[in-house]
Symmetry: C2
Subunit: 440 residues, 2 copies
């Protein structure tokens, strides 16, 4: 056993506290795995007096995480401060510049500054490890970096945000609205007071940006991601999806296409029989499609103090073992600058829910517009209005009713153009709902 790896932990929220407790109780296993002992020597947090349920007196206290990063006693800085700028960035940059290893759970930081920080780590010959930044306790980064050198990845998709998956799961199972489920998620601590970052897909996008780079050997390019959140999803969409053999999940998808790398985050219809469709509640999952291994799916907790700490501790043990591979699997200089595949060129199946006036010729009008755009329909589902008070002699009420179309593969551009024309024709009473379909 060599000299201990001396760890400084910046940020003592649930993850930081759990890291300290796990390193204590798994001491021997971590030392075995790392080839030398791991010792927490310093900590930093906003409030020193806060009761965290364990004793901090054994650790050197720093009010300022940057000062902790500068401490000569620290070999490895664990950054759990959060945020893509300010203190977190400065802490990580300082540590790397001084030749210290960094372990972080900060996806926003990596999505924005990952390449620059990785370059700095490479120059200094130290580790920058971030397993905890994506999908919590699921070791997807290790798998992408180390388990698939024999593979060319063609597509990667995942449920990367537990908040959204919790909301969609409850909406489906209990027929509740988005707003009702969001409120519950907030009450249970699964969603923030301002939920925008989660429910509008930005958190998923940060994580996807990191996974895309690792899967395809490309430069992190978060700005290239098309992002759509789940706030527009209604219980009707979920029940229609179910009737048609699908579930709706907020997926992050990265795919190699003829025009480049497509990166997108949006509510997605997935076949009920797929592994990813079974993933309910706050659980995360990632599926990797690759040439040799075909399809690999990893399912596990996407958040939570202990699960995230599990990933942090695995990274710390890897750092201790002397592993100092390039943070993004290959040197930053070797990461391709892949062309961005524009969303308009995306090709796939679509679910289109129109709220049409229940009168003669509407279905025909809709079908004509789809045919004009050369979009083939796989199925059409029209539901009779349940709120209709009066009906004509054909049983029609004249009240708006949902008309759902499932298309065969079509381009985003064709779908948007057809839907726009249908809107212009005055056939629909409400803005259309368009959800992309992802097949196995």
């Amino acid at each position: 056993m060599g000299r201990p790896l001396r760890v400084g932990i910046a940020g003592l929220g649930t993850v930081g506290a759990s890291v300290i407790q796990i390193l204590d109780r798994q001491n021997e296993v971590v030392a075995q795995r790392g080839g030398r002992p791991v010792e927490v020597v310093a900590v930093s947090a906003r409030d020193r007096a806060k009761d965290r349920g364990f004793d901090l007196t054994g650790f050197t206290w720093f009010d300022d995480p940057v000062a902790l990063a500068k401490s000569a006693d620290v070999d490895c800085v664990v950054e759990l401060v959060g945020g893509s700028e300010g203190t977190a960035l400065e802490t990580v940059r300082t540590a790397l510049s001084l030749g210290k290893h960094v372990v972080t759970a900060n996806k926003a930081l990596l999505a924005k500054h990952g390449l620059a920080l990785a370059k700095l780590a490479e120059e200094k010959g130290v580790s920058l490890a971030f397993e905890a930044s994506v999908a919590g306790g699921i070791p997807v980064i290790k798998v992408l970096c180390e388990a698939l050198p024999g593979n060319k990845v063609s597509r990667l998709y995942g449920i990367l945000n537990g908040t959204c998956n919790y909301i969609l799961s409850r909406m489906e199972l209990e027929g509740l609205t988005f707003a009702e489920c969001l409120k519950d998620a907030q009450r249970l601590g699964y969603a923030e007071a301002d939920p925008t970052f989660d429910v509008e897909g930005f958190d998923t996008a940060h994580k996807l940006a990191i996974l895309t780079s690792l899967a395809f050997g490309t430069q992190v390019d978060a700005d290239a991601i098309y992002v759509e959140g789940i706030s527009s999803i209604t219980p009707l969409d979920l029940s229609m999806a179910s009737e048609l053999g699908f579930r709706i999940k907020l997926l992050g998808v990265a795919e190699r296409t003829e025009t480049g790398i497509e990166q997108r985050v949006h509510p997605t219809m997935v076949p009920k029989s797929s592994a990813i469709a079974q993933v309910m509640g706050v659980t995360n999952a990632v599926t990797i499609d690759a040439d040799a291994v075909k399809e690999l799916t990893l399912i596990g907790p996407g958040a939570g103090g202990d699960a995230t700490a599990s990933a942090v501790v695995a990274d710390i043990a890897d750092v201790a073992s002397g592993k100092a591979e390039p943070p993004f699997g290959r040197p930053v200089g070797h990461l391709e600058k892949a062309p961005r595949a524009p969303m308009q060129r995306h090709e796939g199946g679509y679910y289109i829910r129109l709220t049409v006036h229940d009168r003669p010729g509407v279905a025909a009008g809709v079908a004509t517009r789809m045919a004009e755009a050369e979009i083939s329909l796989e199925s059409i589902l029209q539901k009779r209005s349940e709120v209709a008070a009066t009906q004509d002699r054909h049983g029609r009420s004249g009240a708006p009713v949902p008309l759902v179309l499932i298309t065969y593969a079509a381009t985003e551009a064709a779908i948007r153009s057809a839907v726009e024309k249908i809107s212009g024709d005055g056939l629909i009473a409400e803005p259309p709902q368009v959800i992309r379909i992802e097949r196995e």
Copy 2:
């Protein structure tokens, strides 16, 4: 980039051929990952003349794999010969003794001689890597060894044999018998001419023995595994299971109990909503329950040339990178000799299908025997005979009908004793079917 790692491949079946092709096309990525080039320099197989679809002239040919292992030009031997004794064992032992790294897909060899070979590898300071030996392309060994140092594993269970899962999936989906599905599996190349090894659970047991050691830090102990195969499962069991909210899978289960490590392979009822229940066809899956990460599930191809080769190539890249950790995660001397938990002490829910005579007092008789053994029943399902020709005035036919009991947690000993008494009472017309239930 350092000196190339010179690889010799012993065995050129579908996996060996695929390894050669993958190393060729993924050359750069493997070199990047391994930190140096990887070159196949030598091969060995039974038939030199066989057309394998690619040119062997660039490689030194050996008729004898042991001679390949002895070649001074080979740094790393890939053993794909198979079998737990004879040539495979001698090849691996020779290579390790001479200080060469070994990569193997041979679960039988590892289940039997894994500890001795690991000890030899440790003494010589070389790698013995075997990701491909369990669950084909799923990197479960890497995950267990490297991703979970912060965790104490409490249970691990998996679908580790694609043949059995294919048969059970088809039996369920199409209502076919075991014999019919086995025949199809043989025709499709999913099952051997003599299917015993797969369908009676021995293949699963070999793989489980390896995973148990890695998950619990214990010595490989294949002899301690309770093994039961799937040949007794009937379409009726599968439809009953479905009606009760379960699917039947052949699972390998390893669990830390109060009496020691329980290792068992048997047909298992799993809740339909569980991740593992969704795994159909030849696909494999492993779920790991651990204290920090809670539940982690990996799903992917369990066999097939390319998927298995994907794991072999990942191991070769790890070897090239200089990673030389103890093969079983910790030095053989540190692996615990855990007490074997006897099967009689196993505690869990049970599905018991009795074929009872359809006459008064039978259900009461059965229920009494269960009560005497202090077994609580969660549900009872009695099906009226469909073959009954005549019925008495109560609608009874006197013909045998299935009576299914689902128990709350009970010990194996209690269940066996109760079932034996029920048999002795003359209440049943056929031997009882007992299937263990595994909950999430």
